[in-house]
């Protein structure tokens, strides 16, 4: 039903406030939908958006424009990303500043003339086990009970040193390495000595073939 009475004749621009409009003889409840429609049309014109379908628009609640539009896209939460980035930053800083290296500690270097180096004979108190690494990188283990027994593998060499320690209480490991033997093989003997718990490890090199 079209709006009737004074309201209908009023021009669009200078409509008086709703409360001041006298509506003679017409129940106010019938006029409100028309007023709301007009009001909404004006708001939509201001927003520059499409006009709602007037057929079903009356039953729906008014559209709340404040919650729509491009605002949620800009509102992305950066906090988790920043968290992860800082975590990575800390990780790299820690690993970069502390480049740790596994090492085997050896005594300070001493310059000594080989011609004057006195090699002490082993005494009964100094029970020892000697490992020879020859020019072909083979291991020979000498203990009090057995002399120069070849140990084909590192595992066997280690077992023999262990046995010498348990059977005879050997506390000193002497390594005699040929200068042509490889660094890796000699280090393996040294590591075995640490693993078994020898009190003292002495490394001596020689150029004489075994």
């Amino acid at each position: 039903m079209p709006p009737s009475g004074e309201l209908a004749q009023l021009p669009q621009g200078d409509r008086p406030p709703l409360e001041s409009i006298p509506i003679p003889g017409t129940p106010i409840t019938r006029e409100i939908p028309a007023l709301r429609d007009d009001d909404r049309a004006r708001r939509m014109a201001w927003k520059g958006l499409e006009e709602d379908d007037p057929d079903d628009g009356d039953e729906e609640p008014p559209v709340d424009f404040s919650q729509k539009g491009p605002l949620p896209a800009d509102d992305m939460d950066m906090t988790p990303m920043v968290d992860v980035v800082f975590l990575l930053l800390i990780f790299f800083m820690v690993t970069a500043s502390f480049t740790l290296q596994q090492t085997i500690e050896t005594p300070p270097a001493m310059t000594e003339d080989p011609a004057f180096t006195q090699i002490e004979d082993p005494t009964e108190e100094d029970e020892y086990v000697e490992v020879i690494v020859d020019q072909n990188n083979s291991y020979f283990v000498t203990t009090r009970s057995q002399g120069d027994v070849e140990a084909p593998t590192e595992r066997e060499m280690r077992e023999r040193i262990k046995q010498a320690k348990t059977d005879f209480g050997a506390r000193v490991l002497k390594i005699r390495a040929h200068t042509e033997s490889t660094h890796g093989r000699v280090t393996a003997v040294w590591d075995s000595g640490i693993a078994i718990g020898m009190d003292q490890i002495i490394l001596r090199t020689t150029e004489e073939d075994f």
Partner: protein
């Protein structure tokens, strides 16, 4: 009539577009960082490490930056070795001398100058390839012994942790 025109112009697609721009990229970032962390953890920590050091079970861990580092690797010809004064295989840091006595002197001078520069260094670290001859490592040790300051400090033989 105005309704018909509004339908023809159809502003609705614009509305749909703004909704698509609202795509949540958080899971994508999560996955990307997860992959990044995975590759960081799986890759070798120091790929520039040029030396295949001997494997050992009971090495002690020390910070490399507190040491004077010497590197020994096998040379181009069988049986030969190259010694570098520093932690990288830099051509400028190669020990040029060929005579064993001259090599030892050159190493001794380098260690002495490094100790003068870094007086708080805890020792000399020799990072020798596992295929280098024992004689070469001993020669480096003797060279280090030429430095008076090195005679009171430890020598560390670099190893790889045996897993």
């Amino acid at each position: 009539m105005t309704d018909v025109v509004a339908d023809l112009v159809d502003v609705r697609p614009k509305k749909v577009k703004t909704e698509e721009a609202d795509l949540d990229i958080t899971p994508m970032i999560d996955i990307v960082f997860l992959l990044l962390a995975f590759f960081v953890m799986c890759s070798k920590m120091d790929p520039s490490d040029p030396v295949a050091m001997p494997k050992a079970q009971y090495g002690s861990t020390i910070p490399e930056k507190n040491c004077i580092v010497l590197v020994a690797v096998p040379g181009p010809t069988p049986g030969s070795s190259l010694i570098y004064k520093g932690r990288s295989k830099d051509e400028n840091q190669l020990v040029r001398a060929s005579d064993p006595i001259a090599i030892e002197e050159e190493i001794g001078q380098y260690v002495e100058s490094e100790y003068t520069r870094k007086p708080d260094a805890i020792g000399v670290m020799i990072k020798g390839d596992r295929e280098v001859k024992t004689g070469v490592i001993e020669m480096i040790k003797r060279g280090v012994g030429n430095s008076a300051m090195a005679q009171t400090r430890q020598i560390f033989i670099g190893v790889e942790q045996l897993r």
